[in-house]
Structure formats: structure tokens, C-alpha cells
Amino acid sequence: MSVELLKPELARIVRIKPMVEDHHLFQVRFEDAETVESFRHRPGQFVEMSVIGSGEMPISISSSPTRRGILEFCVRRVGRVTNALYRLPQNSLLGLRGPYGNGFPIEEMKGNNLLIVAGGLGMVPLRSLLWYALDNRRDFKEITLMYGCRSPAEMLFRYELETLTVRDDMSCLLTVDDKAGQEWDGNVGVATDLFAGVEFDAANTYAAICGPPIFYKYVIQKLLERGFSKGRILMSLERKMKCGIGKCGHCGIGGAKKLVCIDGPIFTYWDVVDMREVI
Amino acid sequence: MTRKIQVNRVARVEGYGGIQVEIADGRVKDVKMNILEGARFLEGLVGGRRFDEVPDIICRICAICSAVHKLTAIQAMEDALGVQVSERTALLRELLVQGGNIESHALHIYCLALPDFAGVASVIELNSTHPDTVAEGLRIKKLGNQIQETVGGRAIHPENAVIGGFGRLPVADDIKRLRDGMAQGLDDVQALLPFVRGLEMPDYREGSSVYVALRNGDKDFSFYGDRIVCSDGAEYPLSGYKELTNEFVVPHSNAKHSRHNGKPFVVGALARLTLNGDRLGGAARRAIDALGLVLPTTNILYNNHAQVVELVWALERGRDICERLLEMGLEQEKPVEVKARAGVGTGAIEAPRGTLYHQYELDEEGRVVKADVVTPTAQNLSAFEHDMRAMVESNQGDDDATLRLKVEMVVRAYDPCISCSVH
């Protein structure tokens, strides 16, 4: 075995599904059959994905550990490596290493209600948790998803999520800031508006949240108002990362008291509430 | 009837220059080498700068001859400040000059001039017809760069050369590597001789015929010299270069022109060989014979041949310098301490394209009061026009395209460095 911790394994893009503009879903399978078998991840974990020749970047695993074999990544095209990824045709090889990060504390969350609040691209890591919970439905009590996007055209996994709205074993609330003249007959308003009219048993609920920086501020405020204790608010943080394994230093928060890559990316609000430079 | 031959931008030369020829009723009316490269006024910009800053700035006149610009500036400053350098330094400097010369000559011969003779547009195309020649040429060119990197610290704008010596001396192993490279270079260049000998030379009558070069003592063929000699018999001390060059401004050129006694003159490889070639021995002498080069000649196209001879000489001379350095040993020595003082100093070294002069006047703080740089290409510009005219007159029967190529070949034979000429 190689002593090089930073060595990626080869994986193949089996399918590329364009979702919304500049967001594609990449279905990927490791080349090595044994790795396909042995790879295990928790919802909320991520991988370091390499586009051979261009570079490497952290990407959340968007598929649930309950769906094995193929890993799904939803990547937004923003810069150098993501652009390079978008140039790859189906069937191309990639490098993957991981899974990294702590992931959601599933064991602890079991037996509780689950509230998932996502904004924009924040749906990506939470989708893994959502499907994990739905596939292990009996492990959780009530499951609620609140997902807000700027416009219908920016809603990730829209089709998939709309099918959830008819399920009676969960409640799926979708909203857009603005219809922007597009076809949409759901809620209009920011994600926090969805809290209106929903009752929580805060003491028996875990809230998992992910979204853009400003989103955290408002959602956390709402959750605290509803009596959530800080330790039950779980959030996924994003920082610059190079190694993903706690060595390169870039993702330090609070004077590197915590490294997002190994201590996170999932933190409870309590973990970071007193920490500098977090939100 | 007027016939016009025009080249908007001469290709395969450094810098931006065009050619304009006008023939009216069978007579060549006008021949102009339009130097269009922008003026940077570097001589003006170094005003007020401390002496030790100047070589680093002024060498930016030209990349191809940056080593020799830097060393000529250093020489001028040392002249003004009364600095004597060690023998080791002097040898290393000459090695650096040879490095620049090898790189520049190889670049010119293989990449810029040969394509003309082979009827192709560039060295890239030449590579498909003559891959071995190109490989040899690039190898020699690379060696020239390695010498400059090893001795000068960088292939272009060699920062290691300073007033008083070098920042850091190369070590013996580096010099050995260069020496071995030079031996390989001498092998590589052999194949070129019959090839160049076989080239068909467009002919023309009465080219420029006054040649000027530096001359060193009474035995050496060298790029350094203690006096300036002209083929018309005139001789000047280095500091008297202005009497030779008499620079003046012409309206169609951003570069000044030079005339000696009212006549164009030629500097460069052909001039050096014409004036000092009898001092050559060894492989260089054999190269002259192998090329069938007959001197003197008034056909500037033989400057290409002369460069080949000098390339052979430079490789041999470079190898000898390396041997000498290895004998001496290469203990680190610090640059000579220099004290600022007022004075005027002149530097003159043969650059690949001909004699290069730098002169600086310093005040008591050692800051530049006045700077003057006369470059080889600027000296040659009048001769360019003279020779192009002769070429056109002798080949009027050619169609435009052929004639255009022939005047361009004249220009390229001079291996002009247009940035240098304007600076």
C-alpha cells in the first residue's frame, strides 16, 4: 500500500446529468471493484475529487450511503477545477480520495425528529442525509425538509424533491425567493418563511442546515427562537481546502481550534458559537 | 513608371522595422529601412541613478545581447570608477560574452537565416526538411544559454555580473559541464559547414566595404579590444568612438544612423573576420577553408558565413577559457569594493552584431549625469540601406516577390537587433 495519503483512486464518470444552469450531477463509480465494495461513507462527508491534469477539490457526497455502488456529486461550475470537470465527457476517469470529514452524527440523531433546512447549493450535502433517513425511515420520527432557492430555475433536484411532496411519511416544503416568471406553484419567500405554521418538538428534533453564509444567520435565529438547543443544530461548513485530511491548514476556524476537514464539515452550532471567524 | 517594393514588417529579426524601396524608370530612387520600434529613451532614464543600478537597467535594451550590454556597461562604469578586476573575473566575463555570442549566432544562423536559404518560413518548417540540422542548432543554442545561466545566473539579463566581479562564482563542476558541452558543440557545428558552403548566395555589386571592429593587442582574435580599427586605415582609442560613429538622426527611423567620413560602415562578424581574421587558428581557421569563405568581400550575405566561423571560434575559445578557469580554481571571490566618484568611463565590446559602446559620466555621488549607448545595429543602418540599394540595382529583373525576399535577406544577413538600435 502506498504511504502517500494524498493519492487518489481512479473512478469513472458513468453519467452526467445537467440539473440547473452550471450545476451538474456526476454519477461516479470507482474503477477498482474492491474499492466499490469497501467504500463506506456517512451522510455529510465529502471526497477530494481530482480532474486529472487540472487539480483537486473537496466535493460533498450527495448520494446516500444506502444507495451503494455509484456515488453522486452535484458540482457547481465556479473556477478552474470545476470548469475542467465540466469539460469531461461521460465515461472519463477521475481521481477520488476519501471519504473525509465527520459526517452527520447519525447514531445520535436516530430516534429523533429530523429537520433539514437547505438554501441553494446547501441541498447537496443534505440530500445524502435526507435519503439516508428516508431509506431508514423507521429510525427517525418526523422528517421535514425546508428548501429555499432564489428561483425555480435554480432549484436543485427539483423533480426528485417534488415527488417527495406527495409522500405522507415526511413533509417537504419548497420555496423560491422569486418566481422570476417561471413555472412554479409552490411557496414564494425565503427559506425561513417556511417555519411559519410548522410545529416543532425542539427537544426531540435535530436540525441539519446548510446554505450560503447569510442563510446560517437567519436560520439559526429562527431555530433558537423555536427553542432548539445549540447542540441540536447541525451545520455543514465550507472553507478553502487543499488536503482534506487536516494537514494543509487552510480550513482552520477559530485559530485552527477546529479544522473543517477533519473536525467538520458538520458542526453543531454549540461547537462553533464562540469561535472566531466562523459565520 | 515607379515600382515599389515594400516590407511592412521584416520577419525573423528582433524588433519592428520595415523596408521601402522605390524604383523610378529603372533607377533606384529611394531605399529606406524604417525603424518603427518605439523609443524608450533608456539613456535618458538612467539619469540620476547610482552607478551600480545602471548595468541592470541598461541591459534591458536588448534580450539577445543582454549579456554584452551588461558587461559593456560594467566596463564603462569600472573605467569611470577606476576599478580593476581579477583575472578570474575577466575570464568569466569573457566566457559569458561567448555564451551570449554562441546563443545569438546559433539563433541567427539556424533559426532566422537558414530558413531563407532553404526556402521555408521558419525553423519550425526547417525542422521537417532538415531535422538533424535543427537539432544540432538548438543544441548549440541551448549551450549558449547554459553558459549564460551558469556564469550569468540567467540566460537573459544575467544578474550575476556586477561591477567589480560576480555575485556568486560558478563551481568547478559547472565549468566542467560547460567545457564538455563546448566539445559537443564543436562536433555539432561541423555538419553545418558543408551545408552552408553549398548555399546559393544571391549576388550584387558594390556593397558597403568599410569594415570596423575592435582589435586586441597584436595576436588575439577577440571580442575585446584596446582600439577601434577601420578597413580604410583609421584607428581610434575606445574613448574616441564618437569620432567614428558620428550619430545623427534621420526622419524615417527611430534609430540614429552612423557614418564614418560621410560613408556607411559595417560592424559585425564579417567586419571582425575581415579585419582580424588572419589572427584565427585552429578549428576556426579550418572552418573558413571548409566554407570556402574568401575575404574581403562586399557581399553582406557572407556575414552568415562569418557568423558560422565565429560560432566555431567561440566554442573553441569557450572551451579554452573553461580549461584555464579549472586550472586556476574557482574559489569564491567577492566583487571588488567600489567607491563612488566623479568621472567619465567608456566600455566597448564586440557584441554578436558588432561593436557596442557605452559611455557614462558620473557625478561625485556616482550618479549618472550623462549616458550614451551606440549599438551595432544603429551603426549598420546606413550600410543596410546602401546594400539594399546595391541588391536592388543588381537584381532589377526579378519579380517583386523575389526582390522583396532578397532585400529582406540583406537585412537579415546583418542580423539586426532593432530594439538595440532604438533603445
Binding site: G53, S54, R80, N83, A84, R87 | A11, R12, V13, E14, G15, Y16, E37, G38, A39, R40, F41, L42, E43, G44, L45, G47, G48, R49, R50, E53, D56, I57, R60, I61, C62, A63, I64, S66, L107, C111, L112, A121, S122, I124, E125, L138, K141, K142, N145, G153, A155, I156, H157, E159, N160, F166, G167, R168, F248, V249, P251, K256, E408, S419
Partner: protein, 270 residues
């Protein structure tokens, strides 16, 4: 995939960056084979020009002719890459834009040079949009080859952005500023040269231009503290990147930006 159409151009400068390309003796043929070379007049007499994907432009804008050419190149290039310090920062020719061009002309060419047309020297970015800047006087071969390789993939090259001091430390060169009290610009100069000059016992003169956020005020102050002549400091800053570093003079001249600058100007008054 079609080969990218490339043009290599030189405005006013020493041709060092074009020569640096030609100095890639081992890679040159691979490079040209991988691209559709549309223009490189320093090396070829066949220059079909036309629309190009990437234009590499060397040299600064010193005259109207440069400006016209630059705009023309820009108009038919998808990406325009400034190569070399002249193109990126102005280079040595831009050192004294404070001197009136007419005066300079008179000084160098005398009265008969009045026909010469000349502009205050500016880097490309002052006139047109520059998509990428590869600085260096001249550009470094390694950086060039890596950049070309990246561009061939369709990626923007990754260029070094940290200062020369960092490189100097990685090579464990003795600090000329701290240990020998010399006027070194390494702290505010963009690396990528592997700290060539300190490695040669020579100070960094800033030939690669400043880093993204140079603290020039502090550099000036610390040099003054060490007793350097104000003129030499300003000259040094203005050697290669005057258009950028003239700033330093202003910052320090008008309001001492930091403690040590204050001390220095205090000392000067006394």
C-alpha cells in the same frame, strides 16, 4: 479538438519574452506542434494572423503605433496574455513617466528628433483588457511552459503569487536585507524566479513586479530606518514597476502609513 490558434507579439521592449519562448530549446517544437501558430514574426515569415484564441503580447505601449497594434490584436483575440514585466507593469521604460516625453526626446535625440512620436509608457492593462499576466523580466521558462500546458488543456495557468522572500526562505538563502543591510525588494515582489538574485548574493530589484497586495509603505519605511537614501529607495521601487510602485512614494510622502514610517520621517526632519 482543433489546435488553439496562437499569436506571439512584441510591442516596445527588449524581446526578452519572445526570446524566452525561443529559449525553450527542448520544448519549442512540441509547443508549436500542439498549436496553430498564427503569428510570431520574430521567428517566422509566415504569419497569417486572423482570429486567434490566445495572443501573447510582450512589451509596453510606448508609442501610438504600439497602441494601435495592441488594440488590433485585442480585437481578434479571445484571450490576451501579457507576458513580461513591460507588458504587465510597464518595465524599465516606464520608470520615469514623470519626465515630459518631449524633454526626454530632446535629451536623447536632440532637436532633429522632434518627429519621433512617443507616449508615456504604460502596461497593456492600462489600455485594453488583459486576461492573464505572466510577469518576469524576462518571463521564466518553467512558468511559461506550465502556462502553455495549462492553456492547452483549457485551464487558466496557476501562477505564483507569493513574495520573493518566501522563495528565498525555501532555498535557505541568507537574507540580504536583514543580515547584510542591503536594499532588497523581495518582501513586496512576486516570486516565481526561485529567488534568483538573493541566490546570487544580489538583492531583488523587483523585476517581476509587485505581489497582489504589496505593503510598499512599510517596505519604504523599513528601508529608511536602515538608513537608505530616499532617492535610492524610490528609484529601486520605480525600476521595473513604476506605474504600480509610484504609489509607495505617495503613501509615504503624504501620510506616514505606519509607526516606523513616522519614525523615519521624524528622523528626516531632525
Amino acid at each position: 479538438m482543433a489546435k488553439p490558434r496562437i499569436g506571439i507579439y512584441g510591442l516596445t521592449g527588449c524581446a526578452g519574452d519572445q526570446l524566452a519562448i525561443l529559449n525553450c530549446e527542448d520544448e519549442l517544437l512540441d509547443i508549436v506542434n500542439a498549436v496553430d501558430l498564427r503569428s510570431f514574426s520574430m521567428a517566422s515569415s509566415s504569419n497569417p494572423e486572423g482570429e486567434i484564441d490566445v495572443a501573447f503580447v510582450e512589451g509596453a505601449v510606448c508609442q501610438q503605433r504600439d497602441l494601435d497594434e495592441l488594440k488590433e490584436i485585442r480585437s481578434r483575440s479571445k484571450l490576451l496574455i501579457a507576458i513580461g514585466t513591460c507588458a504587465v507593469w510597464g518595465g524599465v521604460a516606464a520608470a520615469r513617466n514623470d519626465i515630459d516625453r518631449e524633454k526626454l526626446k530632446e535629451k536623447v535625440y536632440g532637436p532633429s528628433g522632434s518627429f519621433l512620436e512617443s507616449l508615456p509608457v504604460k502596461p497593456l492593462g492600462e489600455h485594453v483588457k488583459v486576461d492573464l499576466a505572466i510577469s518576469g523580466c524576462p518571463i521564466e521558462k518553467e512558468e511559461l511552459i506550465n502556462s502553455v500546458a495549462s492553456l492547452l488543456r483549457g485551464d487558466l495557468p496557476l501562477l505564483v503569487s507569493f513574495p520573493v522572500c518566501t522563495s528565498c526562505k525555501m532555498h535557505e538563502y541568507e537574507c540580504l536585507l536583514v543580515k547584510r543591510g542591503q536594499l532588497c525588494l523581495g518582501p513586496i515582489t512576486r516570486a516565481g524566479c526561485e529567488a534568483r538574485c538573493p541566490g546570487l548574493n544580489r538583492v531583488c530589484r523587483g523585476c517581476r513586479g509587485p505581489v497582489d497586495e504589496p505593503n510598499a509603505a512599510s517596505e519604504v519605511a523599513l528601508l529608511k530606518e536602515r538608513g537608505f537614501d530616499r532617492r535610492d529607495i524610490i528609484n529601486a521601487l520605480a525600476t521595473f514597476a513604476a506605474p504600480a510602485e509610484k504609489l509607495a512614494e505617495q503613501i509615504v510622502g503624504k501620510e506616514p502609513a505606519c509607526q516606523s514610517a513616522q519614525d523615519a520621517s521624524q528622523a528626516e526632519k531632525e
